[in-house]
């Protein structure tokens, strides 16, 4: 049974068709990488799946866990059903401590599952443990969400959110951008720690670099709004060697 199934997806932004007939199936436990040049529709795909306003689906379907018809759900419903988007540019929310943000988000998920809110002490314990693994100190949790965070801190904070929310499917949009090699390793370790037999991941990236650390089960090349080639992890290496031009011709 598929964790995610996308069938014949077409989507437009400002009337311009960006996704043009995309099919993809992800089984539980699999990590899929999507690679592609600028403008190929990678980020658009992540926004379409998470339901961002302004990204209009004109055709096709997307199902999570078979039962959730994603395209008919609001963004927050999708999130609570288990879609997590790791942002390429995490957004600043002045005045809202990261800790408060995390707690509010977690409690929204718990309410969806019919669970009680986690009390302050239990929550603190949970966060501290997970934060420590990612090298995130209390100091950072007290600061406002992403405000004044370095590039590395922002991405680590995204992974922490993912660790707390334990999504069904994590879509990581260029999580490697803006990271130096050490930060990349920390973030990759964080992602790997969250791999398990149930969870799926869709890793969107330009470069093969991230995939050295987060080794995918499948690699897809996206060009002109469709997947033009799929393969194993070695496809990323081939791409690195040949460049995108080769594949664009195929599209």
């Amino acid at each position: 049974m598929s964790l995610l199934e996308i069938k014949g997806l077409h989507a437009t932004v400002d009337g311009k068709e960006i996704i043009r007939g995309l099919n993809l199936k992800i089984q539980p436990g699999e990590v899929h990488a999507i690679m592609g040049p600028n403008g190929s529709g990678k980020s658009t795909l992540s926004y379409v799946l998470s339901g961002r306003e302004g990204y209009e689906v004109t055709q096709g379907e997307a199902w999570l866990d078979i039962k959730h018809n994603l395209l008919e759900m609001s963004p927050d419903e999708r999130a609570r059903a288990g879609i997590f988007l790791g942002f390429q540019y995490p957004v600043e929310i002045p005045g809202v401590p990261a800790m408060t943000f995390l707690k509010t988000a977690l409690n929204a998920h718990r309410a969806e599952r019919g669970e009680d809110e986690l009390d302050a002490m239990d929550f603190l314990k949970l966060v501290r443990q997970k934060a420590m693994d990612l090298g995130i100190g209390d100091d950072m949790l007290k600061r406002a969400v992403n405000v004044g965070f370095s590039g590395g801190e922002k991405k680590r904070s995204e992974i922490l959110q993912m660790a707390i929310l334990e999504p069904r499917l994590a879509i990581l949009d260029e999580t490697d951008s803006g990271l130096d090699i050490d930060a990349l390793r920390v973030v990759a370790d964080g992602i790997n720690a969250l791999r398990n037999e149930e969870r799926g991941m869709l890793v969107i990236t330009h470069y093969q670099r991230l995939l050295e650390y987060v080794v995918p089960d499948y690699v897809h090349i996206l060009a002109n709004g469709r997947i033009v080639r799929s393969g194993g992890k070695e496809l990323a290496l081939e791409l690195e060697a040949k460049g995108y031009a080769e594949f664009l011709k195929a599209a």
């Binding site: 927050d76 988007l85 995490p90 929310i93 005045g95 809202v96 509010t104 929204a108």
Partner: protein, 483 residues
Amino acid sequence: MAADTQTIEQVQALGDQYKYGFVTDIDVDLAPKGLNENIVRLISEKKQEPAWLLEWRLRAYRHWLKMPEPKWAKVEFPPLDYQDAYYYAAPKLTEAPKSLDEIDPKLLETYEKLGIPLKEQEVLAGVAVDAVFDSVSVATTYKAKLEQMGIIFCSISEAVQTHPELVRKYLGSVVPYSDNKHATLNSAVFTDGSFVYIPEGVRCPVELSTYFRINQENTGQFERTLIIADRGAYVSYLEGCTAPMRDEHQLHAAVVELVALDDAEIKYSTVQNWYPGDEEGRGGIYNFVTKRGACRGRNSKISWTQVETGSAITWKYPSCILQGDNSVGEFYSVAITNNRQQADTGTKMIHIGKNTTSRIIAKGIAAGRSDSTYRGLVRMQRGAQGARNYTQCDSLLIGDKCGAHTVPYIECGNPTAQVEHEATTSRISDDQLFYCLQRGLSSEDAVSLIVNGFCREVLQTLPMEFAVEAQKLVGISLEGSVG
């Protein structure tokens, strides 16, 4: 149950005393509609006031007749018909709902969200039941404790009887009866309000709150509050309540006067949530309030914090007169308007003494078709050697049909004084909203979270128990503001 019954009996006994102690030989309990000298005399007589106070009221009334309506605020409403209102009603004779079943379910829903206990809900909704008993006894306990410390905390009518010398000395000394049309009306017809006196060197150990008194009398539409902190004294006073309060009167013209002597400090926090009217702006309270504090003594400090979410129209400028050298004035404000609400609010910082400092942090949030204006005056008088002011005004817009306006007035008469003004206007960005939604927050929770973040600096200055409720209130006030 036994304890409850006992309390009920005790309070019933008290209630009787109160009723009979109050009603004088005049046989009217509800004065006829309209305002004239006789009504002013009636109020004064009902309250058995001394001659000087009646004189003062009458001077105010006669002055009021000649005064124009203040027109400079950016608010619009049809002219007030002062003759079509009641100015005096004996407590408990106004028609009250018999039970919560008679209350607007929407209001009850809001109470539920704020987590207000049932008994308090009844009080807030103005239900005429015995729900008041618990808080009356609490209030009595506190009062005894405060009295031991020499702190006077009672209604202003009571203070007129028990401490006439203090009332006479300070009443109208900060907001004179001729100040402005609304304050002048208040001076003529005020029927209720609080009086606080903190003696020299005493630090009031609890946050004083009108909430303790709310059940003893109707909170009137013409409240008059007078707070005096003697040398080296400290008091924190909380006004209002986060729950929306039902009231039949449309016009509220309150006056608050604060006096801080040498080394004294007064912290005054308000949460205002009067009925704002419906989505189309029908009904709702006109909240025309004059609040002013005088830092008379050296090193004195007055700090205003307000969270204004209610009322159809808010017209309010809590101010500080910084007379004593080194005195400090602060104004922290959150004003939220939604639907058709209008708020014109801000402060005045009048620097007279040397090295006086003031700080203004104002956050305005406008949604729906509402209009929010910050209007503030910072004046450095000639003698204000080395005085400093810092002002920061931030406006947040939600949607594209609301307005935010910042109108600072800066007058600097001393070359050594420094004035800083910063202002920003922003919107809740789609990025921020989507980020929150993607983490599973509903759009209402997302707006509440973002706006609370925007107001954090101000909300943090509220006393703890108020702050938590105020945060919830921020969210509730903006419900329905995003699709």
